[in-house]
């Protein structure tokens, strides 16, 4: 979807007198939309510069893209020579911390027990991607809300006021787990490897899948977007391991 917006903006901005270089992530869309200058990078979706923590590689991408500015006419569409694929089919294997509070629901306890790992990533990075609508300290509580939803509690009685809040909470939970996983394995995972771990191997992954099933017939009803904002499409056909 992003490539459509990137290519549209390239046309609009170029017409306004700006020179643009786009890094589309969808070759077919770039071919159809013909932005003035595009470097198609077949990298994992979500990583348009290719490799995190690899400044030299990122510079190579930018240098290649900026070289398109020397072309006398356009549109020009080139392919970056290196291809990087996602690894959704190789889920991370994370050594899980011990139970924290066996009296709590398994998913809530799991989320709480991952807090030290998340803290390690937070300290190492000096920043976090958690916090769209839920701070890290509240993630176990948010998981608890989805446990209740999966057990039949209406979503608007489980602490949510809007669809957007519901969906962004899922995103914060996912990010919290993925940032914790980065500390558990002590490296930056290949693209989608942590996502597959969350949705296929964890208690919270089971809860999010169960909550999605409950919400498909929710009262008050949710928009069809619920089918896209709880479980990534890449995980929809996968059984839990």
């Amino acid at each position: 979807m992003c490539t459509r917006v990137v290519c549209t903006l390239a046309h609009v901005m170029e017409a306004a007198g700006l020179a643009t270089v786009a890094l589309p992530s969808n070759l077919r869309l770039a071919e159809r939309m013909r932005p003035p200058r595009a470097l198609y990078c077949e990298f994992p979706l979500g990583r348009p510069l290719g490799r995190p923590k690899d400044p030299a590689f990122q510079r190579q991408v930018l240098d290649t893209a900026f070289a398109l500015l020397d072309r006398p006419e356009g549109p020009v569409l080139e392919k970056f020579p290196t291809v990087i694929e996602d690894e959704a089919e190789q889920p991370l294997i994370c050594p899980m911390p011990p139970r924290y509070d066996p009296s709590a629901p398994a998913a809530v306890d799991e989320a709480q027990s991952l807090r030290p790992a998340w803290e390690r990533t937070h300290a190492a990075q000096g920043s976090t991607q958690v916090g769209r609508v839920v701070a890290a300290a509240k993630i176990p509580e948010a998981v608890g809300a989805f446990v209740r939803i999966s057990s039949g509690t209406p979503w608007n009685e489980a602490g949510f006021e809007s669809e957007a809040q519901l969906f962004q909470t899922v995103m914060d939970i996912r990010t919290y787990y993925e940032e914790a996983a980065m500390a558990l394995v002590d490296h930056v995972p290949a693209a989608r490897a942590a996502e597959s771990w969350l949705y296929r191997s964890t208690e919270t992954g089971k809860v999010l899948r169960a909550a999605l099933e409950a919400l498909k017939s929710a009262d008050p009803p949710l928009s069809p977007a619920v089918n896209f904002y709880f479980v990534p499409q890449s995980q929809m056909k996968q059984a839990l391991s």
């Binding site: 903006l9 992530s25 077919r28 510069l49 957007a164």
Partner: protein, 148 residues
């Protein structure tokens, strides 16, 4: 290969009638002011989160680093940007390139849209041109556009 299935699923989506591509000749890169425009749905912690269908854009100062990818889609990797913002928003790379004289300078402001949009008409006719005008007013010459 999950990504390729997603690419294929949206490859034939419609888009606005764009007309012939304009083509602006920039100054020499070593003299150009460069800005980043991403569709990652960047936001500051605590800011109102993005919602699906939001065609607006947000503006970030050159020095800002504490930014969250607030894009509403679950369908892309998040660990890369959690480890290194530059994999989506290459602001530190631009600063290095400016320091080396490869680019003229880094724009004082950068922008984010949020790419989960079915209807692109507002971006084409309203928010896109408004963003372009703001960048032009800031003296920007070159824009690098990154999706997620």
């Amino acid at each position: 290969m999950a990504d390729q299935e997603l690419r294929d699923a949206i490859a034939e989506m419609p888009f606005p009638e764009l007309g012939p591509a304009a083509f602006t000749r920039p100054p020499s890169l070593s003299e150009a002011v460069v800005a980043i425009v991403t569709t990652a749905g960047l936001m500051r912690p605590g800011e109102k989160s993005w919602e699906g269908g939001d065609s607006s854009f947000r503006v970030f100062d050159r020095a800002e680093r504490d930014l969250i990818v607030g894009h509403v889609s679950l369908n892309f990797d998040r660990t890369g940007v959690a480890a290194d913002r530059n994999v989506v928003y290459p602001i530190d790379r631009l600063e290095e390139m400016a320091g080396e004289g490869v680019i003229g300078s880094v724009s004082r402001r950068h922008m984010s849209f949020m790419g989960a949009l079915g209807d692109l008409s507002t971006v084409f006719t309203d928010s896109g041109p408004a963003a372009a005008k703001m960048l032009k007013d800031d003296g920007v010459d070159v824009v690098v556009l990154t999706p997620v």
